[in-house]
Each structure stands twice: as C-alpha cells, then as structure tokens.
C-alpha cells in the first residue's frame, strides 16, 4: 500500500499547467497521474486544459502587419509627426484657399500700415524733374485767397505772395495721369464776401493765428502795441492820424488809419524809420504812453521802413 497522500481534485487541477510543462518533480507527477486515472471529471478538465493551451499557442501565430511594426520601430519626434499628420498636404482645398486668403490679407494690411508711404512720397516729390520751386503770381486772381502786400508795393518793393505756391507734380502735356500717379487734392479757398458793418480780423490787417508753415517763413518784423491815454477823444485820434500821415505813414491793412474798434482807434501802417521818433513825440504830446514790442511778421517791408500796428485806447 502506498504511503503517499492522494491529491484532491482542487490541488491536482492547480498542478495541471506545471504537469503539462513538465515542471513537476517525479513524485508529484506520479501523484497527478494517479489522480487522473481515478477521477474521470479531472481527466476531462485536464483534456480541456491541454486543448485550450494548444489553442492559445496557436493564437500566438497572430501577427500584426509590418507597417505597424515599422511605425513603432521608427524614431518619432513631435514636430515631424505633427507635420506628417496635419501638414499642408493633409489640408483640404477649401481650407488651403482660406489660409492663402488670410495670408494675403495680413500681408497687405501689414504693408499698408507699416510701410513709410509718406516719406516715400516726399522723397519722390523732391526728385520730380521740371517742377518749379516757386510760382509767380501776377496778376492775382480775383476772388481767391491770394493777397498782395500792397503797402510794400507802394514804397517800391515788389509784390509778395502771401500764399505758399503749390509744389507738386505737374500734369503731362496731354493732361492725363498714369494710374500709379495720384495727385493730392487741392481745394481752392474762396473768401466769402464781407458783410456790411462787420469787419473781420484779417480785413483789419491783423493776422489771424499763423500756421506752422507761415511761422517758418516769417522774415519781417512788426512793432505792435497799445498807446494808453488818460482821456481819449475822437478829436485827439484824428489829430494823431493827421500827424502820422504827415510823417509819411501809409496804410498797410485794409482799414483806414484811426478805424474805430469799440473804444479803440486802430492803426496799421508803414513808416520810414527816421520818422519813428517823431511819431512817438506826437503821441507823447497828446498824453499817450506808447508800449510797443517788436515781433516777427511774415511780410517784409523795404529797407528803411517799418511796420507798426497800434491801438489808441483810454486807460481803464
């Protein structure tokens, strides 16, 4: 009689894989074999296990395609993979069109906004051949904003144009421009007719606020100021006017000398230099205190003459 313990069904079934793979020692192997001879149920299970093992080993023949293996074997980098997956060639045609359109629009916008067109235009203007730097304005066109300094003309100086001549490209002889040439728009300013009884600053001969360009072009001077009187009457003003005219003063503005502006008497005139002291003495004789300052002025008077703008007013 064998002294070996018999295996239970549960334990013998646990040993089946080891038995099949011949991993059991001889004693265990014999025990399993004895149990299989005695137990039909375990024998059936053993047969199934063997067949199942065979099926699984046959499943190991399942193979993946070579493309997938190659894909895994290949070295992968993020950007190269990204481009391969989402690159330009993978886009559909509509998306490509939209992208191209966006690119062109952005390039155009950048060119328009960032390119120094103004500098280019200025530099091109300087290189235009056959463009005169100044345009003589003789005679003045009536009704336009061209003014002639008639006062200096009256003392022998040539007329000076107050407006800057337009320096720009000239039209070709046939009067047509090529599409690339675009002329700046020039708007002719026409002064409105003066309303009766109302005199504007410019009509008085006083300059309205001067533009930057006019500031740069200021070449002449004006003596501007006020004369204070304790008591100022129209008679006194009339006497002063007569004295000034007698000393060689000529009207420079558009209003007459001694023009009444509110409570003031307004004078804008050209005077020979040597008579300036005499004019001061006349004013002082009537009790006036002259306070004038020399300022720059766009209009130039002939050498030996001076421009004066002054107001006679009663001291407050």
């Amino acid at each position: 009689m064998s002294t070996e313990r018999k295996l239970s069904c549960f334990f013998s079934r646990e040993l089946f894989p080891l038995y099949i793979e011949e991993q059991l020692d001889n004693a265990r192997r014999e025990q399993v074999e004895v149990h299989l001879k005695e137990c039909q149920l375990c024998l059936d299970v053993f047969e199934r296990v063997k067949k199942n093992r065979k099926i699984l080993i046959e499943l190991s023949e399942t193979k993946c395609s070579a493309e997938v293996v190659t894909f895994l074997q290949k070295e992968h980098h993020f950007w190269s993979d990204f481009i391969a997956r989402y690159g330009w060639s993978k886009w559909n045609s509509n998306l490509k069109w939209a992208a191209e359109l966006c690119f062109v629009a952005i390039a155009l916008a950048a060119t328009i906004h960032l390119f120094p067109w103004l500098n280019l235009a200025k530099s091109l203007q300087g290189f235009r051949p056959g463009i005169p730097k100044t345009i003589p304005i003789t005679p003045p066109v009536s009704g336009t904003d061209v003014e002639i300094d008639t006062d200096t003309a009256g003392v022998g100086s040539p007329p000076v144009a107050l407006v800057q001549p337009f320096i720009g490209p000239q039209l070709p002889p046939d009067g047509k421009l090529s599409p690339s040439e675009k002329l700046p728009t020039v708007v002719a300013v026409v002064k409105p007719a003066p309303v009766a009884g109302v005199v504007s600053e410019s009509e008085m001969g006083e300059e309205s606020p001067i533009s930057d360009m006019a500031q740069q072009k200021m070449a002449g001077f004006v003596w501007r100021g006020a004369v204070q009187f304790d008591v100022l009457s129209p008679e006194v003003a009339e006497q002063i006017t007569k004295s000034i005219i007698a000393l060689g003063a000529t009207k420079a503005g558009k209003v007459d000398l001694g023009w009444i502006r509110g409570t003031q008497f307004y004078y804008h005139f050209i005077l020979p230099d040597e008579n300036y002291e005499k004019v001061l003495s006349v004013i002082n004789a009537h009790g006036g205190i002259v306070d004038v300052k020399k300022e720059k002025h766009p209009r130039v008077v002939k050498k030996g003459y001076m421009r004066i703008i002054m107001t006679l007013e009663q001291e407050k």
């Binding site: 079934r13 646990e14 040993l15 089946f16 894989p17 080891l18 793979e21 991993q23 299970v45 199934r48 296990v49 067949k51 199942n52 093992r53 099926i55 699984l56 080993i57 046959e58 499943l59 190991s60 023949e61 399942t62 193979k63 993946c64 395609s65 493309e67 997938v68 293996v69 894909f71 895994l72 074997q73 992968h76």
Partner: protein, 151 residues
C-alpha cells in the same frame, strides 16, 4: 536593444488584452517609448522583465481610462491563421478575470518563461501557475469554443 520580436510581442499583448486595434497601437507606442527610456537609464535590467513590467503598467492605465470594446471583429492590421480562435478569445475576455488573461497572454501567446513573468509582475511563481490553471480551465466556457474543442 529591442528587436522586432519585442515590438510584435508588445503589439500582441495589447491586441489580446485591450481588444481594440487603435488603442493597442497607441498603447504599444507608449510602451516602447517607456521601455527605451528605462533601458537607457539602466542597461543592466533584464530586458524581458522590463518589457513585461512596462506593458503591464501601460495596460493598467488604459484599463482605468478606457472601457473595453465589446468584441469588435478583428481588423486587417492583425492576421491570425485561425480567426475563429480570435473570436473565442474575445468571448473569453468578456467574462474572465484580467490577471488570468494577462498570465495566459504572457505565457502562451508571447511565450515568456513563468519565472520572468513572476519577477515582472512581482508575484510568486505559484500564483502565475495558479492563474494559468484558472485561465486554461475557464477558457472554453462558451458555446463557440466548446464546439471547437469537441471536434
């Protein structure tokens, strides 16, 4: 250094256990990268152990994240001489425990030695045999395979 056999083993491991080709390739890709990284850091590790360990880790992550597909038919990337066995395997996967399935795949489909599997999964070798026995017993518990086995 990884050989083509390793790549194929990784692919098959995920193919049989994830039951989805896309996920299998993706998981294989991650596994291969991870294996290469591990090997580059320590050249003295046993390659098979590293491979199984990494596959097991990635598999667990995938199982946590994704649900198993319900027996989708095999696609063209994987070819089997017995497609009906693949169907039987899918049936088995639907009702089996994952540890047994892993042990079966590693031992019989990928042909790793039990001691290597035990080392990689960090379980006693007896546990591996126990799982194999349970797996082999329950593998044919469906009508399709029973019919096949009887033949």
């Amino acid at each position: 250094m990884l050989t083509e056999a390793h790549y194929r083993a990784v692919l098959n491991f995920f193919y049989f256990l994830l039951q989805d080709e896309g996920m299998s390739i993706s998981a294989s890709f991650k596994t291969i990268k991870q294996i290469q990284k591990t090997i580059s850091k320590n050249e003295y590790l046993l390659l098979d152990v590293v491979v199984i360990k990494t596959m097991y880790e990635v598999l667990n992550k995938y199982l946590e994240k994704h649900k198993m597909s319900a027996g989708a038919p095999p696609r063209s990337d994987w070819k089997s001489p017995k497609p009906e066995y693949l169907i039987a395997w899918k049936e088995f996967m639907r009702r089996s425990e994952m540890p047994s399935s892993i042990a079966l795949v590693l031992r019989y489909i990928l042909d790793y030695p039990p001691n290597v599997i035990a080392e990689a999964l960090e379980v006693p070798i007896g546990t591996i045999y126990f799982r194999l026995g349970r797996g082999l017993e329950s593998f044919d518990q469906n009508s399709i395979l029973k019919a096949m086995v009887k033949k």
